[in-house]
Amino acid sequence: MDSVKSILITGVGGQGTLLAARILGDAAIRSGYEAKVSEVHGMSQRGGSVVTYVRYGKSVVSPLICEGEADVILSFEVLEAARCLPYLKKGGVVVTSTQEINPMPVISGAAKYPGDLINQMKATGVRVISADALSIARAAGSIKASNVALIGLGADLFGFSHDVLYESIMSCVPEKAKAVNEAAFKGGLAAASQRHNL
């Protein structure tokens, strides 16, 4: 891999985007790359839109991903995936959970949650891989593991072996959550291979 790989992770504050970013950063280092991971803390973690960047390659200068630069958008929530679409590089892939979380303007009735966003993204010619990461995580034992389920869903797009991803997940999650996260990762991988067979 000569060029820098850029993974943009997005979701709603509190969904576990930070851990997903740390796992991918760890996998990049294990794979012998230089990596930069940019997180956002503070106010936006309180249920707002959050975006985290992971960049890796032989040499990485800026930690930020700009519009038109992301190889992969890894999204925990459909509206956030659509919001970040301009960041996708030509030929990039959107991996998103099908979860929809109403933002406050929708809850309060001031705005509507746009419908059919996944198909609209596909209609632009973008490749979209989607699955219900929340259900996969719930089946694995905890909805908190939806971030790891999502990593499983996108596992073939990062340029890391599944073994490396697995090692990184195990080293980044707390001891007592290892079994649940292992199951969530496998659930994500299984959902991804189903997509391939379609």
């Binding site: 740390r22 230089e34 038109g68 301009p86 809850i107």
Partner: protein
């Protein structure tokens, strides 16, 4: 082989403190600086504490440094405003053992009320400032800062910004170099800043700065990188360097300044003379650019680039190279997703009642600032830490709004700087009502202990500051110090009404722990009985992210989000919300 690790900028700063033999750390939390002190607290060799505010923290660190121990203090940019008083005298007295102040700016205001540029403080307080551009430099610059601080007898500032503080990059770790406590010698001419002594110290300060300017000319942290041609020369520092490098690659030469105060004049002149066009690239204010222009050097900078907001390589490419990326966008109205009070947040009920009573609300800085967001939208003003109390006093003395206005302030913010405003209220005969939203933790910055929580930064037991007794001690009548559970809406409303009517200062302590605290047990989520729900939307008025409206107009509760706090059950007149 040396260990290399992916490290957050803030973690690398803490590692630098450890390796530099720092013994004493005192800080007040503030995004994006908070984790420095949290990581520092993990080293047994470092004493680390949360102070009630940044002024106390810096003064504590000054005391430790003058006493002979390497000392440190971290804060966010606006925290430096609070600590400005000691800052401006620290350059005069100088130090004994090294003293470093880390200040984290927040361009783009990810989590702040303004985007002030802390470099102005370095110039105004005459304190040298280092600015790293990745985690490795965070670690290296901290160690360098302590050596220089002791060599030049002056405190140093390390300036970071959100993208440096909260980005991880590979960092090589070293060993701790144990620094013995330096002997303290009584020296009033140096440390007692009465005018007669301060006059001498100002002269000394100018001499020390002159020596630092000379050092800057050859400092290894001010680096020139040459391109193959001499068309463009970029003068830059900190995170702006990585954006510039990403944008221009090796098509430009760079003068990367690690020391941003004082600037190396000869080096800048030499660099500028070696290229056809000089561009100064710096986020926020034209601090370097104005000094470069004052040297008589023609350059581009803020004529092409904004003083507002965060930079990126894309912004530079667009403004300086006229390049725009190819993008895909949906032609869809996307509702924004502003941050909101969490499900189960104890502040939610307070704002519902304040809105219901149509009160003017003097707000403050913390999670509870989110009460300003629709539909709760009940905050009238938010200025800075502590201003809720002091500005309400001014309002009410001036226009007599006591019956229809309150201040809201968090527990940690009240201790930080709300207490002085309350003293002013009592002393000057205010009849105002102050609500302390006591959620038993410093919330927005990510759960830091404070004097009210009974635990120190290192999780050791500490005397628990009683807000009731504190308010009584400053003269609030004990009958008008009320404690309520903010999730009991009727009681809360009744208490607020009673105290608005009182002829003196009142304090209502709304006490309920943050729903995100580990010891706060999540209860079974509630659900909607569709047969009972009349689709009246009364439950929507508390703006809980767990409650939304189904397609049939009836309420629904997201069981993944609901914490079972039960606030919504008090909104429903039809008993449709059940366990």
């Amino acid at each position: 082989m040396k260990t290399k690790r992916l490290m957050l900028g803030n973690e690398a700063v803490a590692r630098g403190l450890y390796e530099a033999g720092v013994r004493f750390v005192s800080s007040y939390p503030g995004t994006p600086s908070t984790e420095i002190t949290e990581y520092a607290a993990k080293y047994d060799e470092i004493y680390a504490e949360w102070a009630p505010n940044e002024k106390v923290a810096l003064e504590a660190a000054m005391g430790a440094a003058v006493g002979g121990a390497r000392a440190f203090c971290a804060m966010k940019h606006v925290g430096l405003n609070v600590a400005a008083d000691p800052l401006f005298v620290a350059s005069y007295t100088g130090i004994n053992a090294g003293l470093l102040i880390a200040v984290a700016d927040d361009p783009g205001m990810h989590s702040s009320q303004n985007e002030q540029d802390s470099r102005h403080y370095a110039r105004a307080a005459k304190i040298p400032m280092l600015e790293p551009s990745d985690s490795q430099e965070c670690l290296d610059f901290v160690k360098l800062a302590y050596d220089l601080s002791e060599k030049f007898d002056i405190p140093f500032i390390l300036r970071t910004s959100t993208r440096i503080a909260h980005s991880q990059s590979l960092t090589e770790l070293g060993e701790r170099e144990e620094k013995p406590i330096l002997p303290y010698e009584k020296n009033p001419a140096k440390y007692v800043m009465i005018p007669a002594n301060a006059r001498g110290r100002h002269v000394s300060l100018e001499e020390r700065l002159a020596a630092l300017r000379e050092y800057a000319e050859t400092s290894p942290v001010n680096k020139i990188e040459r391109a193959s041609d001499n068309k463009i020369g970029i003068i830059t520092a900190g995170v702006s360097y990585v954006y510039a490098k990403e944008c221009f690659g090796d098509t430009a030469s760079y003068l990367k300044l690690g020391l941003v105060n004082p600037l190396p004049e000869r080096l800048i002149r030499e660099f500028a003379a070696s290229v056809e066009r000089v561009i100064v690239i710096e986020e926020l204010d034209p601090v370097i650019e104005e000094q470069v222009r004052a040297m008589g050097i023609a350059c581009d900078g803020k004529n092409l680039l904004p003083v507002v907001g965060e930079y990126s390589s894309a912004l530079l490419a667009e403004r300086l190279l006229g390049k725009k990326p190819e993008t895909v966008r949906l032609d869809v109205q996307m509702p924004p997703r502003p941050p909101v009070l969490c499900p189960g947040c104890p502040h939610r009920g307070v704002y519902y009642i304040l809105k219901k009573l149509k009160l003017t609300v003097s707000g403050d800085i913390g999670c509870y600032t989110l009460g300003a967001v629709a539909p709760l939208a009940s905050i009238d003003t938010t200025f800075c830490m502590g201003a809720s109390v002091s500005s309400l006093h001014g309002r009410n003395i001036a226009i007599g709004d006591e019956k229809t206005s309150v201040a809201v302030i968090g527990d940690s913010t009240f201790v930080h700087s709300g207490i002085t405003g309350l003293i002013n209220m009592v002393y000057n005969g205010s009849k105002s009502t102050v609500l302390i939203l006591d959620n038993r933790i410093t919330g927005m910055t990510g759960h830091q202990q404070n004097p009210c929580t009974g635990l120190t930064l290192k999780e050791k037991p500490a005397p628990e500051l009683s807000l009731e007794r504190l308010c009584a001690a400053v003269g609030v009548d004990e009958e008008h110090i009320r404690v309520v559970d903010p999730n009991k809406l009727d009681e809360l409303e009744k208490t607020i009404k009673e105290e608005l009517d009182s002829p003196c200062v009142s304090v209502i302590i709304c006490r309920r722990p943050c729903a995100l605290l580990k010891y706060v047990a999540k209860k079974k989520p509630y659900s909607i009985d569709e047969n009972k729900c009349r689709a009246c939307r009364a439950c929507m008025r508390i703006a809980c992210p767990a409650i939304s409206v189904s397609e049939n107009g009836k309420a629904k509760i997201d069981d993944a989000l609901c914490t079972g706090c039960g606030l919504c059950t008090q909104m429903c007149r039809f008993d449709a919300i059940c366990e």
